[in-house]
Symmetry: C2
Subunit: 220 residues, 2 copies
């Protein structure tokens, strides 16, 4: 079935909310995520249910059907592949790619996305470290943890970020932190859960609990 960009965005929102909250997505949560009035969401949910994309029961929240989930995954695939293209081929920095990919992801051509995938050499992760589903919708899993769960003495490498907001990514730029950057945990401060971190074996800095929570790393 041919989906509109708007319908696709709703499916993506439902997918991401379910992933984040590990339960069905509520009307208000979707409204906040998309930035529309709850009444508009209700309208759309009825339409999506009519197209067998979601399971919807009044007042109960929604889940994606198998079919709806497949569509959402393919959209995420397109989004992340375009982000890789923008970053690695057009040299956009990681805070600039998301907004442009929001538009590019709606260009629908199976051939296009698969050729793009090949052109980029089948990347497994996007510029923010998020996994890119393959043509069959399968994500690559990887051992990673929040920096907050690392302990003093640990050496870790940055694999991804949970937050994609421009101002946050620019904050990381300012600290010369990017994917692949290595951290050594020097100390954990119990009173505010902040951490003293040695970046790239050269600069020491303090990272707040909030920032540490966002950074996804693995031990090296």
């Amino acid at each position: 079935m041919r989906l509109s960009s708007t319908e696709e965005n709703y499916l993506k929102a439902i997918y991401k909310i379910a992933e984040r909250e590990k339960k069905s997505a509520s009307t208000n949560t979707i409204a906040k995520y998309i930035g529309t009035a709850p009444a508009s969401v209700t309208d759309m949910l009825k339409r999506l249910a009519g197209k067998q994309l979601i399971n919807y029961e009044k007042y109960k929240g929604v889940t994606l059907t198998t079919y709806g989930g497949r569509e959402a995954t393919q959209l995420i695939r397109r989004h992340r592949l375009w982000e890789v293209f923008l970053a690695s081929k057009l040299r956009f920095s990681w805070e600039a790619v998301h907004d442009i990919a929001e538009e590019l992801e709606h260009v629908k051509s199976e051939e296009l996305v698969n050729r793009l995938d090949a052109f980029l050499d089948y990347p497994k992760f996007d510029p923010h470290g998020d996994p890119i589903p393959n043509a069959q919708g399968k994500f690559t899993l990887r051992n990673q943890m929040s920096l907050l769960d690392a302990h003093p003495g640990n050496k870790v490498v940055l694999l991804g970020v949970r937050e994609h907001e421009t101002s946050f990514l620019q904050y990381l730029n300012g600290l010369n932190i990017s994917l692949g950057t290595e951290f050594t945990i020097k100390a954990f401060n119990h009173f505010d859960k902040s951490m003293n971190i040695l970046i790239d074996h050269t600069r020491e800095t303090l990272l707040s609990e909030k920032v540490c929570q966002i950074l996804l790393v693995k031990k090296i």
Copy 2:
């Protein structure tokens, strides 16, 4: 001003019709070009006139304003740059690129189109030999003529095609004709204006008047 994809498509249609017919575009011509009812065109013309994009006077046909012309040119720039990307980077064949570029052209980011331009090494012509306006909207001019105007004995090289329809381009593929292919005119047949052509110094074939009219060449 922020234009919708639909508005942009109307501007492009008006631009191309004016170019082809060398006069102002009429409601019916636009309707045929876009594939909508004439009444819908009238609606849209009023809106475009309200936004200062076209000069519109009831029953008189329309022309683009300077501002509208600039928008149309930028849209054509985006379209043709994406066609180059699809053909030269993703290895799409020339008959496949147009439909996908029809969607990609509406992704609006000045930064994106300029970086794409640089990534492609500032191409001057698209996969059909059409000129690509630069960031300032300037087209590269080039001496070219229709194959129909060549004479027996002339050696020419194919620079472009006036017709982009899939079935026509596939017909050329079948004859192993692509941009850069060299032709030697062996004979001109007055009764039906067809031509006997030696392709790439190896294969001789007959090309109809219609086909010769479409092929744009220059002498070598």
